[in-house]
Amino acid sequence: MGKIIAVHSYKGGTGKTLLSVNLAAAYAKKGKKVCILDLDFRAPSLQSIFKLDSSEYWLNDYLNGACEINKVVTNYASQCKCNGTMLVGLANPATEALRDMSAKDRKWEMRALGRLLSLKNTLLNDMELDYLIFDTSPGLQYSSINAIVSADVVLVVSTIDASDIEGTKRMTHELYDLFEKKTAILMNKVPIEFLSTSMEREGLYKRFENTHTLPVLKVIPCYCDVLRARGTEIFTRDYPDHPFTKHVEEIVTKIEMF
């Protein structure tokens, strides 16, 4: 059976969406059947990458019980230039939708959890997908905790920012551990001079693992080329030989063994 991966972080701007999209593209490039869902209903962003301004059905509609998931997802395999399947489900970026989603009550959130949990059957069992990736909102939001509860694996993206590291540590004990989730850390945007020698790299891995008491899957340097791309494209597709792409491919292999 396939796996559900939730990509989460304590703070915003850590690179969750960048990593989620590129992980999905890397899986699809390997011929896997993958689906990525934008569960950041406060600040949706996948529509900018997949260049979609309007849609008949959004993930909001699925969670509202207004449609089934097959009406929401679209196959972007040709756009990704990949061999596999790359389904994308978008959150509605309209201001009215953001307002509506932030005003949901606890009963609605409970039903939304049920709808997310049932994706295991519809997407992984019935549609035989290999991976379902949830791009979540940062921190302790209903939508992100719902995603974490529904996931098999949680990838936590953190920067070297002290408050980010502290918050990630707290979430490990107060969130991921409580739901007994298989969790790993991705350190992102690490200044490249911290990683210039293999000794420095190994030292950094050990330091982060000791701090987080979780496995660190990858320490990814901060690349100006990635920043220059402004999150409008699928970076690993456009720059297949870039070191960032190699890092993403290594993460994919590590998740398969995780």
């Binding site: 606890r106 009963k107 409970m110 039903r111 719902n146 509860v149 107060e174 409580l178």
Partner: protein, 120 residues
């Protein structure tokens, strides 16, 4: 009684087993109530409580595991929950009944089996 036992002992034995199961379940509820204190602490809400993720986070570890399993299975018996959590059926039955008393879950009987579910 002796007559029906002679006619169909299997039916009678099944009825006895069913009664014992129910008795066992009631005992488990009493034990839970005794463990946790006064009955009023549990039977306070008439309306079902929402079992959302924030509530799940606030539950003690042992109950959270049971509650998350019911959320995943949708509707299940104590035995089916025990299969997932790898804990004893009697233990899960106690936890599930405790969650019912706390109004987070509902319980429905179908024949010999008791099904637990979250009312949506």
């Amino acid at each position: 009684m002796g007559k029906s036992l002679g006619k169909n002992p299997t039916v009678l034995l099944e009825k006895i087993k069913e009664s014992l199961d129910r008795l066992n379940e009631k005992m488990e509820i009493f034990i839970e109530i005794q463990k946790q204190g006064r009955k009023q602490d549990f039977v306070v809400q008439d309306l079902p409580e929402a079992l959302d993720v924030m509530t799940l986070l606030s539950l003690p570890d042992h109950l959270r595991k049971t509650a998350v399993t019911i959320c995943k299975l949708g509707r299940a018996t104590a035995e089916e929950v025990a299969e997932q959590t790898k804990r004893a059926r009697a233990v899960e039955s106690g936890y599930l009944n405790q969650l019912v008393l706390m109004s987070y879950m509902k319980k429905e009987r179908k024949g010999r089996k008791a099904y637990f579910f979250v009312e949506k």
